[in-house]
């Protein structure tokens, strides 16, 4: 019961933050609300026992991306342009897709169900072999760094490439701050 209450409260907060962030026309408050959204997502991940994901979400989503948005915000006007389009069609589409997603979610396995397909594939192998193979207790690190070492190498190169891309776009020396 307590778990249900806590999760319900967090989801309720998420919904409120999402609505306020969409409605707000001040860009600064939208950015701060997006950070708060990430922080609450991180709390939900903790309550799902996904500590590593929660860690990443709190550090990247709530921390760094907010700072990057604020740095990028200097080049934007303070307020969004208000557009008064007909939003009934968009509302119907969003509502329809939302209903479909909720309907589809009834077919999902219960959270933590050991018989769910995702827990029957390679999961048991990792759980039973990480400790004998590597002698480390954190399965997530074992899977990321060793069993799936190629994937992590790929991710590292992707991050590196993203940094290079931004460096090529913004850092060509011409547009750089002169006092740097």
């Amino acid at each position: 019961m307590a778990e249900f209450l806590i999760n319900g409260f967090l989801i309720f907060l998420l919904a409120i933050i999402a609505v306020v962030a969409i409605r707000s026309i001040k860009i600064f408050s939208t950015v701060m609300l997006a950070g708060a959204y990430s922080l609450i997502c991180a709390i939900i991940f903790v309550s799902l026992d996904a500590v590593d994901v929660a860690f990443t979400e709190a550090a990247v989503g709530a921390g760094l991306s907010t700072v990057l948005y604020i740095a990028a915000m200097r080049h934007l006007p303070k307020r969004e342009k208000v557009v008064n389009d007909n939003t009934i069609f968009a509302f119907i589409v969003c509502f329809g897709v939302g209903c479909l997603l909720i309907w589809a979610s009834f077919d999902l396995p219960v959270i933590g169900d050991p018989m769910a397909p995702i827990h029957q594939h390679v999961g048991p192998y990792y759980i039973s072999n990480t400790k004998p193979d590597m002698g480390i207790p954190n399965l997530v690190t074992g899977v990321l760094a060793s069993y799936r070492g190629y994937d992590t190498l790929g991710e590292t190169v992707v991050i590196f490439t993203a940094g290079l891309g931004v460096l090529l776009l913004l850092g060509d020396g011409k547009n750089r701050d002169k006092n740097e």
Binding site: V51, D52, A54, F55, T56, A59, V60, G63, L64, V67, L68, A71, A72, R74, H75, D133, M134, G135, I136, P137, N138, V140, T141, G142, L144, A145, S146, G149, Y150, T152, L153, E155, T156, V157, I159, F160, A162, G163, V166, L167, L170, G171, N175, R176, D177, N179, E180
Partner: protein, 141 residues
Amino acid sequence: MNDDPILRVCTKIIVGPIILFGLYVQFHGDYGPGGGFQAGVIVAAGFILHSLIFGLKEGRKLISERLNLFIMILGVILYGGVGLVSIYYDAEYLNYSILAHDTKHGQHIGILLIEFGVGLTVAGVMLILFHLFSSWQGEDK
């Protein structure tokens, strides 16, 4: 750049522990939550906080752009290099078991090294992203 004395003093106190915590997450990732990616972000956040309060120029005095690029590249090379060392010792690419006499020790060393590579790259990229976004002057200026 911020002249508020409270922010400046608090930043001076807090930047060190943030970076120390990043290092803890980096090298403790195989025993607790965390790892290279999170550690890189936390260390970068420490330096970014310093730059936010004391200005980009002061931040670049700590880590110059050359050093920043070097850190970025070194991370990827360290990761890929561990794989090449495995090949050198007649094992599959990124098979760490060969790195020490004992398989477990080899795996442990390999994981520590590649996580450090991930951390270096992530910290370097995050820091350079922040500096590029903040120092960009716009197209028409």
